[in-house]
Symmetry: D2
Subunit: 261 residues, 4 copies
């Protein structure tokens, strides 16, 4: 008996890990891939198993030639059909002036955010096309639709990612492959990343500044619910593009105070 | 014991009726409002009751002064709290050249599509604000984001509707009111409207031209699933804007063949 | 000998008046229409005449039934062919919460910003179509593409205006009529309006806060240069949509500081 | 006496060459750079000189490490200050299904369209920043805002280009550097490229199919007029984004016939 596979490329303790849990809870075999932290990866896999779910973890250097390709091939060969793939690699390197954005950093952003998605689609879509179905959920960021100062690398990479979602959709939707571009418009409440980075006090202060108690940051478990919904929309009514933000945050297009109304 | 109310303004046999059924199935009292066809309205209410759900129907001339306002007030006073409102009034009048678009038709489009939504929000949001929660789901169309030839009235009205969704969201999201703009990008498979209009043969031909069997048209029951999901997203991860189209349709921004690549 | 007419609907001392001057300088007969301030209108006409240009002024209540229509008809009959029309009516009523936005204010915004443009096109385009040429330049605002809090009336109206520009372009471009939507993304340095409103000190302070000396506000005479250029683009290379902002202002989509990168 | 330099990266017989001629006619020293065809390059330079203008030509392999950088440095050192730079490299490789889009082709698209612009800005902007002024005009394509089938490489690359224009503008506009993203939405009437490719008969047929006589294709000399205008807008009223298309073409967002209205 083969479970359908949900592959998560970029499976940390935030969106990726929570999406893995959500799909595992619904009967998928979750395959979690991330660049580093074998321990954290094992812990996620153990948590899923502990809940009675099925999961496996792989360390993956996504920018290495052939790495994504080999992972996809081996899953399809040895584990089961990838029915849902979640491309969740970030490429945010903080705010950097042009003078501080190296050619290497700019290229790396593209290798992660744009080229990685292209390589995943090139490798995976022939399998999905043959089966006549499949979903590719792409985590994206505000930078995909708006270029702020200091975001040269990130914005160029995420915009390429978004437009690639459109070209993939244009070619493959009618073949049964559902591509969704999910714009995460705000900070995600990921205790293991954002929380550790800020420390407990500043973390709690940010949560409170952003909204009542903690809902002012995007909760990854809640994000995962929408990922699951989108992946299971009936093919007569697919969403290609949606945004997600906390209720207490302004949308990226709104300014708190604005001269240009 | 009071059930939460889901009010549908524009409740025919397509999206509106199916959203009513979906919410009633989940424990809402569905209030269906539509301009005409008392018989069709009663049938929808009876279908919901027959499934064990709770529903009521009202005929409503939405462009009449005070009509939406009175309905909202009376539901809040006599029936229960409107937790979800679905604004589903269409304003499509077919393709008309400028010379054939009367001042009256242009104004009526706005009264239905834009002003009606404004009046609903003005009346309903104080209740929702007091309760600190509520959802307003707005059915929208491609014309809200792209003005095609012959769509003078429709496009101007739907664009106003969309931008109003943004201003409402900007003011009320942080107060717990979730506004979602749902872009229906294609023809909806509504047997009682599209089907009757075309007749059985042309209807089936369209379905087949559009995709395998029938999934090439947007199925309203499937659309309703996404409406329900959006209305129940956790406030830490709300969607404000999403599109819905059949897998076999091109997105509005794609051309089958195109000179401008 | 008949000069071509440039009709400006909304001709105050800012964009409208400066566009009139620019076109008059290039050989057009400028027809300036505005709601009130006969004295200011006469002064503009006198300034143009004093420079050797040709101009006439009319008071026009644009929201009154038949007013725009009569003006267009009488110009075409008695003065000359309207080769360029500039629709420059604003509909900004300041920042108002939903509770403070009356039905009347919301409707008035639409009557000015959207319906006025529709009525102008309905009346004027048959003349232009017959001549196989003409330009309609539409002054627009950030609110046409982004709905900020407090902008319910303005944003809904300007979005309708923008989408109407698209439907007009879709129907009439191939007939030789050039429609351009010009998004003014910032405050315009209009001494007679903004300057009087703020008083000399606050006005100068704003200018200095916004950029070096005075260029941090949009100078209407400079805006007029771009209006003139767009109206005279060769038909093989027309611009339909462009933005204008001061060099020192952030674009509407950029935030000074932003959580959602 | 040093003339201001207008550097054109991608100077063929279409947009690039015509922009060079237009700027040379207005007193700029035009520096034309292109990958190949030394003869065609020399001919363009000779034409400009023949008209009394000043120009120089360089063969440039833009994707080679250091190539753009060396050209900019040597112009600034030996020729004069680059006041206007035109980034006109295309990256269209025709319509290719995903299966026919090699990793190499996808990467090359990015190296030309996105990374090349980044490298140009990194090298050039310090000079412009020191002078407190300068313009960067970026030729772009419909693919920057819409991903059609078969455009995987092109769309991802042009979208990255567009978003990079936004991040550059966000950081450098207030420092006096004007970045403009110019969306060419249609086929350009370039006799030496499109004309040669199609041959005289098919070329003329396309011109006639597209509009009256020849204006149905974008004429590069007319495009050049708008480039010149944008580069000389006063800093109080800069355009960041505009589109250009032939009057008889539909805008990219319009469909000739459309199911999704």
């Amino acid at each position: 008996m083969t479970k359908p596979v949900c592959l998560i490329v970029g499976a940390g303790a935030g969106i990726g890990g929570n999406v893995a849990k959500r799909f595992a809870r619904e009967g998928y075999h979750a395959v979690l891939a991330r660049r580093s932290d074998k321990e954290g990866l094992d812990r996620l896999v153990a948590e899923i198993s502990g809940e009675g779910g099925s999961a496996a973890g792989f360390l993956l250097n996504a920018v290495e030639d052939g790495s994504i390709e080999r992972l996809v091939e081996s899953i399809e060969k040895d584990i089961g059909p990838i029915e849902v793939a979640v491309f969740n690699l970030g490429a945010q390197i903080g705010s950097r002036a042009l003078a501080n954005t190296s050619l290497k950093a700019f290229e790396l952003g593209w290798r992660m955010a744009t080229f990685g998605l292209f390589r995943l689609a090139v490798t995976l879509f022939p399998y999905m096309e043959q089966r006549g179905k499949g979903s590719l959920l792409v985590t994206s960021a505000t930078a995909a639709v708006r270029g702020n100062a200091g975001q040269h690398s990130h914005a160029a990479a995420m915009a390429g990612r978004r437009m690639l979602c459109q070209t993939l959709n244009a070619e493959f939707a009618a073949k049964g492959i559902h591509v969704a571009h999910i714009l995460i418009d705000g900070a995600v409440d990921a205790p293991d990343t954002l929380g550790k980075m800020l420390g407990p006090e500043r973390y709690q202060a940010l949560r409170e500044a952003k909204g009542l108690a903690k809902d002012g940051l995007l909760l990854p478990a809640e994000i995962a619910n929408t990922y699951f919904h989108v992946a299971h929309q009936h093919r007569s009514a697919w969403t290609h593009e949606l945004d997600l933000r906390a209720f207490s945050d302004l949308a990226w297009w709104n300014h708190a105070t604005s001269g240009n109304l």
